[in-house]
Every structure is written in C-alpha cells, then in structure tokens.
Symmetry: C2
Subunit: 217 residues, 2 copies
Amino acid sequence: MSHQIITELEKRHTVKHYDASKHISAADLAIIYEAMRLSPSSINSQPWKFIVIESDEAKQRFHDTFANKFQFNQKHAKAASHTILFAHKTHYARADYENVINVDIQTGRTKPENKDQSFGAFAFVDMNTDEQGNNAAWTKSQTYIALGNTMNVLARLGIDSTPMEGVDHELISELFPELEGYQCDVALAMGYNDADQDYNAALPKSRLAIKDIVTAL
Amino acid sequence: MSHQIITELEKRHTVKHYDASKHISAADLAIIYEAMRLSPSSINSQPWKFIVIESDEAKQRFHDTFANKFQFNQKHAKAASHTILFAHKTHYARADYENVINVDIQTGRTKPENKDQSFGAFAFVDMNTDEQGNNAAWTKSQTYIALGNTMNVLARLGIDSTPMEGVDHELISELFPELEGYQCDVALAMGYNDADQDYNAALPKSRLAIKDIVTAL
C-alpha cells in the first residue's frame, strides 16, 4: 500500500541506539507538546502529566532510576535527545475534573451556570474507581492514548523514538518528586538514531497479518 | 501554533451526530486498517482484535448491545459509517507470542534458530500476569496505543469519529462470539458528521494548559 501515513508508520521502529550529538529542535518540541496536549481522553479527563527529561541534570536522574531494573534501557537516558515520562494520576478526583470544567468555561465551551451539570460525566470515573479512590488502571489507559498519538506524530516529524515499559516506576517516583500523585509506567525516548549501531532500523517490520487482527462483519 | 498536525488535531472532536448517508471509502478503510496493524505495542505483542461493524446486520447487533446501558451512544451504531470494536485479549499467553515470533521468522527479522531466545521478551507479559493467567490490564493498555494511533490517522484523513468507553462489554461479548477470549471496553465510531446536528463540532476545543501538564526538567 502506498500512502504517506503508511510509509511513515512502516519506517518508525524502536530505536536501539541513539546519536547523542543530535537534538530535537525547539520548533519540533513545541509541536510534540501541543499534539500531546490535544490527545483525546475519556470525558476529556486528561489525567496525565508529561515530564520531559531535557537537561543533563534530569538525564542523570533518569539514568539513576535504572539502578535496580531494566538496565538494557539505561543507555537511552543520556543518549536520547529527550525522554518523556508518561505518568497517570493514580487517584483522579472531582477536583481534577473541576480543573477541566473550569477551562471549558474559560473557552466558552460550557456556560458557567452549567458547571454542576458538567460533573455528570464524572460517572465514568466513579465506574472505574475502587473504594480507596484508586482509578489508576483507567487513567493509565487514557495516558496510552496520548502515547499512541505522540508516537504517530513523531513518525510524521521524522523523529526516532523508543517506547519503554522497562522503567522502574518506584525509583522514578522516588527520584522525581515532581510526579507526586502520578505514576510513570512508560517512558518515550526521542531523538535521532545512530544508523550504524541501531540494528533495529534495518530489520524488516513485523506485524500479524490483517486477517488475524481485523474482522469486518 | 500553525502546523498541519496541530490544525488536524484541533479540528478533530467527538462527533455527537452522524450523517448516515455518508460512508468511508474502501481506500480510506484500507489505510485505517493498515495503520492499526502497524500500531506499536510492548514487545510487539499485538494483543488485540479489531472487529469492524460494517454491515446492516452487524450494526443491528451492535445497536442491541446498548439495551441495558449507555443508551446515549446507541444512535451511533446505525448512523456511523463504521464502528471498530477495540478488544484486548484477557489472557495473553505464550502461544499468542509464538504467533508473533513466527511472523518475525517469516519476515526474516528473527532467525529460526533464535526462536527460543525470542521468548525472553515474554518476561514483560509474566510481570503483568496474575496467578490465573489474567493480564487484561496490560493488554488493554496496549490496545489504547492503537486507539490513539487510529484517532490521529482519522483526523489526518478528515474522517470524523466518536471514541466510546460507554459500551457494554458484557453484552458485546454475548452478541459478538467472534470476540471469544477478548474483551471490548472501548469502541470507535467513524464516519462523517451531520454538520447541522453535531453541536460539538462548533464548540471551542478545550484542553488544560501546557504548563499544567508538561514539565521540562
């Protein structure tokens, strides 16, 4: 199939080795952040926080989170241009949704007098919340929508990336107090690969056949 | 910000009313399916099944799954051009991953003699599997990557959509035996909106501010 969308998605792959000398431009970063911001989520809840590892100090801190586990991903911490920690709120509450509704009111999407009524959608949160107020499974799913959206955008911008579930969420929480209330189960390293050492770039794309995953009824 | 990616994502919205006379072309459907197929997932597990509601018979069946719950989404079942049921495998097992590895071997990505070694990545599944073999939370997250990827692609193709967590997964499993072993917690209606009645198209886009969700360190 010949279409620009498919060409880009076929080219994208999980980078195994970055060229540490290459950096994502400020213009591209702005597009990436804005695209992340525009990601859809259930009831527009946006139960996420995106921590961007950019400075040498932050890269060192992220590097240190691989002390106990997943050392095979550690080298990306310093070699990738940027890494985004995709974190989900573990106890998304009415106060969080109120922030969303307040923006709706600011933009003119919702009339101030309809504020109470707007909380009706919060029933979707209640359905996914346990007795301790934990709804991390639901907020995590929403955050993976943003991840899928972001990886598509990177492919389109010609920026390489490495999605990593191989991250230590406990050590990340410890070393990144900025994440209080949020949990990071997945991170996305981004930058430009070292073509000579990124063996995965040359390997053929491999996916299950359409007939095995898509059934039209 | 002026960039084609952002323009498209700003325009996309959750459709509240479809024009039932308009249908997605076969050429666009082929791109959508192929883009879904190319979605990334942890260890390339692809623990998903995409059931496409296309025929009148399937639309009636999907319509009937709203008998008990979420009636506000029922009208999309027949009015949308197509709806995709995004389903995740609840008990993803070694045999499923063997299918992936077999494709890797067919494509030349993996040498036949390295087949056993390829199962090393399955440790990520084990980490996310309970004693009953259930790993639905993990496979569901992967499926939301595909959802995020697909919504981005639809925005780019100028096709409208409605993501719906308001679906009755129990009744879907009952009326769609094709989903055996998989669970559908989210569906994506697709088509073209009825501009006069889709009130959401005209409302301003509303998202939290960049400063409230992105922190660069």
